[in-house]
Amino acid sequence: MSLRAWRAGVHKEFLLLFHDWHALLLLFAMPLAFLVIMSLAMQDEFAQHAGEKMRVIVLDLDDSAASQALAAALASSGTVTVHSAEPGTALRDQMRAQAAAFGIEIKRGYGAALPKATSPLSATVVLTVAADTTRQTELIFTGTLREILARERLSAILGPLAVLSGTDGFESANAQPAVEYAYQSKGEARAPSAVQQNVPAWLVFGAFFVVIPLSNTLIRERQQGTLKRLRTMPVGQGTLLLGKLAPYFIVNLVQVMLMMAAGMWLVPALGGEALELKGSPSALALVCAAVSVAALGYALLISSVTRTTEQATLLGGAGNLILAAIGGIMVPKFVMPQAMQQLTNVSPMAWGLEGFLDVLLHDAGTREVLPEAAALAAFGAVALAIAWAMLKRTEI
């Protein structure tokens, strides 16, 4: 590969991009606007889980009649489905694996503490809230749990007479569970916010929009005879394409930085919650690179199967919207019905979003995001290979 020719290609692509204000607006202003608007509009207002009851996993370490009664009371409340925790696996891991909204750990001594009105139950009942559980859902469920605990305590103290009395007098601070959040591995208590969903979502969306400027440039080159001229020069297709793709890889990285910065400073300045950067920087870089490879593969594929800039804009733009709609970008995955949640798995945007959420919410490291990164890289590699072969075969 001629390094000089490659560098010239990179420089030329940047010059063309800087001359194209529409493309710059599309790549930077559009996802930024979506991010800000949606973060503010959806602040702590994610819709409730629809179509099925929330899952609650109960880890019963007390194994007493009282603890079993608590689990039974939860199950009969009608708002949740209760599942017993598997022994030997951490409660949070089980919650993540089973997509449970809450986990309840009933510690040893719960049965003994229950009849003692002065003993706080937060010492023996710990509620863990999943990262993607909305604040509203959390408030409703903790209210329900508080009521059940008060009733259980009343029953334990009064026995059969409890039915004659209300629970009001016992629904005190001492009858409340301790609440923790599953996305926090370092013991900090912060609820997930709209910005944590929207920054990675619109970041991935924006990254895939390189399809428009990239395909338009390539198609114009084909239409204007520039590609024909380049083919008659002593430079390989690999050098030309790498020179074309490298600037957009950098554009994707700049998009990530810009969107992160907007989540950290712009959204809170406008009254929203701030994005906190957690997780491993290397995992974040890996997901960024993988998303970019997938986006570039998609863009080159669209460029190779279309003949006019109109076709590319329509196919690339509409394709992006569909991938975003089914990929949990526009509507968060966790509010989708089960069948739709399964469908998100076909969209590479969903893989990218999952990767970012793993890093930002679940404190994931490089190893944890490898499946998403590998899927994205594989998608990008296959798309690039098909596009490469098609461009090579094109008679111009």
């Binding site: 010239a8 005879g225 083919r231 008659t232 430079v235 111009i396």
Partner: protein
């Protein structure tokens, strides 16, 4: 009217095309059918033919933008199939389209294409200056190429093709749709390149231009070479008894006089008629007697356009007659 092809050693010719056929993936018909010819070094070779005849396909194959399916092409003694990259280093194409980036300035375009050839900055600058000078672009390099006039765009198109100082240059209709000044500039550049020893393959629909510039010519129709000859031979052979006069001023008196000789072709100032050798002195005497001034007078030389059109007509009749 198809003539036998001159034969020579492939290595001695600048370009040797041998038995080349090509079919596009989307077509059932051959775009080129067993095409063979040679182009001597440092000559301008006119490649003529109607639209869709196969000229662009042939240029695409010779320049390496299309892959050879059958036959062989030798450029400066090197097989194009085996040494494509080397051949691309010593040849250049100036396509009919404005094959550059309109958003970039003339200078940025030259820099980019110069770098694609892998030239160092110093060498690139030297060659850019030479190309800019020959195409007279000095005052326009700072503007976006999209703002250029048609003529300037053609000149920039040509300048880019000169950056690798090619031994072989393919010019695909380089003067189409431009003003007289730019046309003159490009034709001057072509002559200068020939004088430096560059072999030029020149396609154009302007027969006068081809007649004026080219040393030899091939006509291609329906994918086959139907004529190949040196320009002088062709015009002389086909032009027996043909008189052509380019008048200074075609006044009504002059026109009346010339009409007496039954002109076969009239193009404003240029009159053509058939005059047997025995009557030529009579015509010249009449011109002298009436003091008719003319820019040039050719006898026994035909015009390329006439030959070309007759050739295509004959080829069409032959094809229609063949079941």
């Amino acid at each position: 009217m198809a003539l036998p092809l001159p034969t020579s050693d492939s290595a001695a010719a600048a370009i040797a095309v041998r038995g080349v056929s090509y079919r596009y993936a989307s077509s059932a018909v051959l775009a080129l059918d067993d095409v063979s010819f040679e182009v001597p070094r440092a000559e301008i070779f006119g490649l003529l033919g109607p639209n869709g005849a196969g000229k662009s396909t042939l240029l695409g194959l010779m320049s390496g933008s299309l892959k050879i399916q059958s036959g062989e092409i030798w450029i400066e003694g090197e097989s194009l199939a085996r040494r494509a990259r080397h051949v691309k280093r010593i040849s250049a194409v100036v396509p009919q389209e404005y094959a550059f980036y309109e958003a970039l300035t003339g200078r940025q375009n030259l820099d980019y294409f110069g770098s694609v050839f892998g030239l160092s900055r110093r060498e690139r600058t030297r060659r850019e200056e030479a190309a800019v000078e020959i195409c007279r672009l000095q005052e326009h390099l700072g503007r976006a190429a999209g703002q250029y006039s048609g003529g300037l765009k053609r000149r920039l198109n040509l300048a880019i093709g000169l950056l690798n100082e090619p031994k072989i240059l393919y010019l695909d209709e380089p003067t189409v749709g431009i003003d007289a000044e730019s046309r003159r500039c490009i034709l001057d550049a072509v002559r200068a390149l020939k004088a430096r020893g560059t072999t030029i393959v020149y396609t154009s629909h302007y027969m006068e231009e081809v007649e004026e510039l080219c040393d030899s010519v091939a006509v291609i129709d329906h994918g086959r070479v139907v004529l190949r000859d040196r320009m002088q031979n062709l015009l002389r052979r086909e032009g027996a008894e043909h008189l052509q006069i380019a008048l200074v001023e075609p006044t009504p008196d002059v026109v009346r006089l010339l009409e007496a000789f039954a002109p076969t072709h009239v193009d404003h100032k240029v009159w053509s008629c058939t005059v047997p050798a025995g009557r030529l002195s009579e015509v010249l005497a009449a011109l002298e007697r009436h003091d008719i001034r003319y820019e040039r007078l050719h006898y026994g030389v035909s015009r390329l356009e006439k030959i070309y059109l007759e050739l295509l007509l004959a080829d069409k009749s032959q094809r229609e007659a063949t079941p």
